[in-house]
Symmetry: C2
Subunit: 461 residues, 2 copies
Amino acid sequence: MRPMFFAALAASILLPAVVQAQDLAAKAAELRDKALADPTAYELVESLTTEVGARPVGSAGMERARDWGVAKLKALGFSNVRVEEFQAQSWLRGEESAEVVAPFPHKLHILGLGRSASTPRGGVEAEIALFGSLDELTALPPGALKGKIAVVSQPMPKTQDGSGYGFINRNRTLGAAEAARRGAVAYLTRSSSTDDTRLPHTGAMSQPTDAPVIPAAALSTPDAELLERLVARGQPVRIRLKMENTFREAVPAWNVVGEITGTEAPDEIIVIGGHLDAWDPGTGAIDDAAGIAITTAAARLVAAERPRRTIRVVMWGAEELNDSGRAYGAAHKDEVARMVVVSESDSGDGPIWRVRLPKGSASHPAMRAFAAAVAPLQVVLAPEPATGGGADVADLVRQGAPVASLSPDVTRYFDLHHSADDTFDKVDPKKLAQSVAVWTSFLYTVAASDIDFRQLAAEAP
Amino acid sequence: MRPMFFAALAASILLPAVVQAQDLAAKAAELRDKALADPTAYELVESLTTEVGARPVGSAGMERARDWGVAKLKALGFSNVRVEEFQAQSWLRGEESAEVVAPFPHKLHILGLGRSASTPRGGVEAEIALFGSLDELTALPPGALKGKIAVVSQPMPKTQDGSGYGFINRNRTLGAAEAARRGAVAYLTRSSSTDDTRLPHTGAMSQPTDAPVIPAAALSTPDAELLERLVARGQPVRIRLKMENTFREAVPAWNVVGEITGTEAPDEIIVIGGHLDAWDPGTGAIDDAAGIAITTAAARLVAAERPRRTIRVVMWGAEELNDSGRAYGAAHKDEVARMVVVSESDSGDGPIWRVRLPKGSASHPAMRAFAAAVAPLQVVLAPEPATGGGADVADLVRQGAPVASLSPDVTRYFDLHHSADDTFDKVDPKKLAQSVAVWTSFLYTVAASDIDFRQLAAEAP
């Protein structure tokens, strides 16, 4: 009888959890289907891109975006809606132009990079030195590029997971500093993009304190290839570049926050969101109105279930120059221990093709309920745990917050991001709804359960 | 024996023609395969787009294009290479900008249309009146648009045969005049394009003498859709537009000509070609370096066979404002009777999906040889005869020259044409080679035979 007794005892102990998991799975599936039919996220993207548009930090657009965020969160029934001000860097674009002046004249399509210097008022004209990769450039000694405009023309591989961006992106973030260290008067890089249009893609540079700050811009893909063909003819290629922009070390910026207050454990906080600031050439539809919209719409759907834990949606206000995550982490360091999980949506409209959960959590009943709910949505539950999570949650993760990564397919994302082509028409409502459905399922199973990701990670092998 | 006698007689009469057709077919197939492997056309497009680039009439680029054409025709072994000067209109773009100033500020991506007026120096700012089609606009009485900026936002259908362009294009060519007649101060139209980038597509307008000339520009597709969304909110939408450009009634322009002189019937002339001028935003790769390259490369391949008739390649020099065909027709009216057939390549790199032959010629042995040669190339030989042939041969056709249409698939062409995206990287060498192969087969079977398209048309039912 002993074995039977133990079996009965085990069943009685496990039963509540199993029942809870079944309820979770059923409700998560119900919310998933509601999300697939919910127009809220698409409407939010339409509204932000139409009524606000471009919104770099330090612009009037970003002030309007802040007010938009507050109004939308209130209208959608969020609690504790607030604006958290901090100081951030601001780089604003002025007039820009570039042209090949020899051996054959051509206008070039460029976009200055964030933190770039301006040129002298009359512009700078110089012979170019073209490199197939940044390694070719950094192999040169100091002074080797004296008086030259350095150009790196390496193309970005197109990948579903975005690894092509990480692979190539130091050409944008570090190339100008490396060129400046070798005496270059300006720097051009083929856009960190996967498209073939004449629209360049901007983005931030790092600004190492030990390198001169020189004018730096991204070339469109066809313009980079034109330079390659001109250089291949063996004659010196000369470019004239004019840029004027405004860089300020500290301007007001704002993280906009709203909450679904938990019914039983309001102090246990799930922190999600996207970023509200956006580069100026487009209207910030996929980067990152989509992320704002997905997380807001998902939280709102879960709100109707009165979840036991608090869901906090943050519209981070200075992601592009990487200031809002740092500011948020500093302001909320005392809360990190109470953050159940953090996750940012900052890779476009979707569909989500892969989820990485916090370490050791995949077999917990709540995550099994989540997995069951998203099984029809063609999502891979990856065996490896999430590690990063995006620029705005990185500081929280560094401080110990568990993190989950819900990864959209970015095969097209890098055709558009940081370019004038980041506009509302590029957002696919079906893909967006799939993303909301995955987020809703995840949020619900975490917020309605007592899953403890820290404990599961500590117990994991 | 009578029946046998007649059969033998018939065979002896037809035999030379049948043998000739077999020879034609075999040689056409041989030339087709040479064309498929020939890099000449691709190299010509590379050269023109890299070493010349943008080349509107009246620009330094067009002068360099003229010299490029002469040099290339000579280098490729053409005879009688010459420049035929004529007078043409010139419209050159200056600074342009447009922005929504209310209800929400947005920069707009525009390109002024050929023959547009400039705005006053400070620009023009006005409320817009948005129309879903030009018919909605023309339904209004005189004065109905007084002080307004009229906008037509009709999208262009994407079609393989380009009929979507013909369907929509009067929005560009006639819209400004219709708006001006009703009192509008400026006119914007959604680009005659099938893409979804922020790159607008320019193009010529007609300039009716009975309508005021007002500033007119094309909007990119996403910008037109943004205006639709703004208007849908019910508040007045105001736009500020600045344009400065230069219009000249008569500047020098040039048709560049080279020939493969016929060995037996040099006075029988096959006139083919593309146009050398190109809109300024791109480098004129598909419009129309491709046409120049396809026809030049095909003529050169046939030259090696020493064809009995003359093949004349014309690089027309002012197609975009529709001046070079008129000038060519006037200058060569005495030759039209000796023109065997005329045909222009002005729809991109290919592949050619349909051929329309001159009326009544499809069953002639020469055209059956052509059909046999191109059978593997997935070309439809259409039952209906060619009628148009392109702007540069239209005047010759009007004067009685037989015409053939070798039609490229333009499904992607109108994503690119007249925009900054018309660049070398968009040209597909395989598609281009297929086009050269079709042209080579056609040219050879016409130039090496004595097919008389006029007589066949006259005899056709």
